[in-house]
Symmetry: C2
Subunit: 557 residues, 2 copies
């Protein structure tokens, strides 16, 4: 049985789920030994441990030396030494691997990718332990977001790529009547051809979740891929690449179809991005480098996710306590280092109606701060929920944020029970007014939130509209018991093209998006120009090259 047939049920399940968008996941998010095996966690951790301080086992063309750029937010010595390869050698090897991969056809490619993905799934504990150590995510979140949820997004990209490619018939018989004369008859073939080398640039915080969609979408549609991970979160990408290369080699294919690019010299990435052979770039990261890519890598189609100003508006609620608990978790999870974490919480300055009576603006702020404080009162919860801070600059931003307004909740340096060197800080929450636009209107990445006193619910809508239009967002949340007002927020979400969550008070959080159901980012506002996952994310990664020629027609009359 070929690999496509082996994994056909998995693909069909994904296609079915995407068509209905109810809940579905083939990759269990529960890390339990009952699901993954008794020794799975220990084995995974041991596998990572064995890599630390070593040359990473990866042989690529044009190696000029080894680099070990990773600094664990947990303070763990990593020291994995990855190959640094010449950009031109990587590009040449990618191009050399392309024709064979393209000739494999859509089914052949997707079979190989699904085989690799299921192997990644089996090695979830290993990959996600690497995610945890390099990103600072708490262990459970690292497992879920870095393992099964990232695998879900990969499968989603593969399934969409299949849909887009399956839309093109492989061949057609074209038979055009010519009245009394014999018809014109042509045999036509329609080949799917990738656009060229794809560069996938990862981020420091979600090295698998934000890398897999572009990686698998580009591969499935016939393109060789060069993955340039963030220098602080290389290992999860490296293991994923190794698994892909292993499957390729087993299938007699050129493993250089998927390569790792890494260097301490920024000119290295810039050279890759600007290479004429690079036809697409998937990028998750800063607006600054995103803009550089837009300006300088114009030969490539860019799929970019950058900074945004995620917003929650509280107009009223009939579940005040549950709302506070929900928001407190959102603000705390992974120390607010998710691209979907709420930053601005807009509240009418005269307060809100709740099931616990009227709450003043001050009270809402105080209660929200208390809810965060309470959530994080247990040191074990601190480690599990907050994790560690990925970048030192984020700690600086915490301090800067505190100076912008009235501090509702002060950030404290925390001590991780297992990792004494971990960079841990609790969230800061600052009260502002609608007039403090310059303080809250741009992204302040990390455990920083602003509770903004607005000129009524109308002022809150207007404030949200201004920031969302100017800077975009991945998420917008609203709380309201007034359906007419809620409908206005729905219109706001449409106008600014931001995904909306309404009255989240249970175990779903505005910063979470579930594959096969939620579209992550709309792709229609400044925070991102593409979505996980739509047809638009895959359909322009290949072209159709047709050929036609006459075939035997009836004899002339």
């Amino acid at each position: 049985m070929n690999l496509f047939e082996t994994h056909r049920a998995l693909l069909d399940g994904a296609l079915q789920a995407l068509a209905t968008r109810g809940y579905w996941s083939p990759f269990p998010e529960n890390a339990s030994p009952k699901v993954y095996g008794e020794t799975a966690q220990a084995d995974g951790q041991a596998a990572v441990q064995a890599l630390l301080g070593q040359d990473y086992p990866l042989q690529q063309p044009g190696e000029v030396g080894r680099v070990a750029p990773e600094q664990s937010p947990y303070g763990v010595d990593l020291g994995v030494r990855y190959p640094e390869c010449r950009p031109d050698a990587l590009i040449a090897a990618a191009r050399a691997a392309e024709p064979q991969w393209q000739a494999l056809g859509a089914q052949g490619r997707i079979g190989v990718l699904l085989e690799a993905l299921t192997r990644m799934h089996r090695r979830s504990h290993e990959i996600t332990h690497a995610v945890m150590l390099t990103t600072g995510q708490g262990p459970m979140m690292a497992f879920q977001a870095g393992g099964p949820h990232a695998q879900d997004r990969a499968l989603e990209a593969i399934a969409y790529a299949w849909k887009a490619m399956a839309d093109v018939p492989e061949q057609a018989l074209w038979n055009k009547p010519q009245g009394k004369n014999p018809p014109l008859v042509m045999q036509k073939h329609f080949d799917i051809v990738g656009r060229g080398v794809a560069l996938v640039i990862g981020c420091a915080t979600f090295p698998t979740w934000n890398t897999y969609p572009g990686l698998f979408a580009a591969l499935a549609t016939g393109n060789p891929v060069i993955v340039k991970p963030h220098p602080n979160a290389v290992l999860p990408a490296a293991i994923s690449i190794s698994i892909l290369r292993e499957v390729l080699a087993e299938q007699g294919l050129d493993a250089n179809l998927v390569q790792l690019a890494l260097s301490l010299d920024p000119a290295h990435t810039q050279a890759l991005a600007r290479d004429p052979a690079v036809a697409s770039i998937d990028f998750t990261g800063s607006n600054e480098f995103g803009r550089w890519l837009q300006d300088n890598a114009r030969q490539a189609r860019l799929y970019a996710e950058m900074a945004g100003v995620n917003t929650v508006i509280i107009e009223s609620t009939d579940q005040y306590a549950a709302m506070l608990r929900n928001l407190a978790f959102t603000l705390s999870l992974y120390s607010g280092q998710m691209c979907t974490t709420t930053q601005n919480i807009l509240v009418p300055k005269d307060g809100i109606a709740t099931d616990e009576g009227h709450k003043s603006f001050e009270q809402v702020g105080a209660d929200l701060a208390a809810a965060v404080d309470k959530l994080l009162s247990d040191p074990r919860v601190q480690g599990a929920v907050l994790g560690a801070i990925s970048a030192a600059q984020t700690v600086e931003r915490i301090g800067q944020a505190a100076s912008k307004g009235r501090v509702l909740l002060a950030s404290r340096a925390l001590h991780h029970p297992e990792y004494p060197q971990a960079r841990m800080h609790s969230p800061v929450m600052v009260a502002l007014t609608q007039a403090d636009y310059s303080s809250y209107a741009s992204e302040c990445f990390g455990p920083v939130s602003f509770v903004v006193a607005c000129d009524g619910a109308d002022g809150a809508l207007a404030t949200a509209e201004a920031t969302l239009r100017e800077h975009g967002a991945l998420t917008l949340g609203v709380y309201s018991t007034d359906r007419a007002w809620t409908e206005r927020s729905v219109q706001l979400a449409r106008n600014t093209r931001v995904a909306l969550s309404i009255n989240l008070t249970q175990g779903v959080y505005v910063n979470q998006s579930a594959a096969f159901s939620d579209y992550h980012a709309t792709g229609g506002n400044p925070a991102a120009n593409a979505s996980y996952t739509t047809l638009a994310f895959v359909a322009d990664r290949f072209v159709v090259v047709q050929r036609r020629e006459h075939v035997a027609a009836p004899a002339a009359a």
Copy 2:
């Protein structure tokens, strides 16, 4: 019955045709009175005649005056005066029309567009007489390419837009099990929202065929459209816009959803293209302005068709006479002013094997010149096939081309039997050698072809590869009786991402592409970055804005 249901069968027919890509067209290309009605042609011509020298009946916001820029290649006085409107007024009106159009939903929009398209079809004789007078196309070609074939391409764009939108479910119930606890249940809605104002920039030679795909794709996916026709071919676009506005108004919708932009000041178009509200630009025209758009209108997604170097390679043939006739027609049709017309004919310098024996390079050139000469020996055929030259610069290029090498066929000024002022010139054909790269490697738009003596069939492949990689092409043709060599040309087509026609000797020409079967341009080489029509042409013209909220779940355990 609503308009969607009225036209459902038409849409379904298109979807079925696109899935199989056999021959299909709902719009008869035969202009015969038996098909279109006894008085259709006379009525259409009279309708155009009534517009000449008049204010065109179109009222749009921000009108500052009237302009009448059209100069007929046939020398007919046109003098239609179109409104010139302020760019900011057009943009504001487009934005104002957007929410209502979006709220109509995919079915509602497509119903309106199919109604307009069928009305355009009923007015084919009128629209295509305007195409003929403004472009210089011969009457039959103007009718077919400007009428039914353009309508086919419009329907194709609508059908693809429908496919891409239908891929998104309107809503979903998401029900996530929580072990012993009650499930998390959410109702989700997925709204399709256009990206924003679409600018569609037409060309001088195919004012409907190259305008309709972008126009209908953008409208169907929820975007208002501003059409900026080429100043020399406004009338076909203006009539098409009027029909759309008429249907919109009848449906109680804002007619300013579709507007005409026209000015004698180039800054006018530039202001439109750079407006932040403009989210997409469809462009057919010169590399120069295409590059300007890429550099300056970076807020917009660009779908561009520009210049290329279309090529035919003759390796050998077993139908020498039929090949010559086929090529002669290709080179002559509309005086080579199709974006798909062959420019370079690559022939081994030592000649080729044919069913009429070996033919030297010189003989092939002489025979091809003679075939063109023979085709055009009848003055009625001249008018019908060549039509008139759209731009005065094209006549200059004919003269320049003749100076580049040995003239195989000299261009002559011709006299049109019906239009004494018509700008008519027969094709020029020039022999070059492979070394004359700079002479043949860039586009020389118009009735100009180069027969290039190459270093064998290998040299021809290498020459084609060089020009196709550097400048791209919409079409590549090959003639060969050697399947191994033909397979190499198939690989060349894949590598350079150019559509390939093999051994065309019957009534299909390399410069023709049939909607519902042939993809026009691959979108994967420098001549065009998009194709008529693929999912990629439509899927990124809208985004999905979702909203989610909890709905009644089972009571907590």
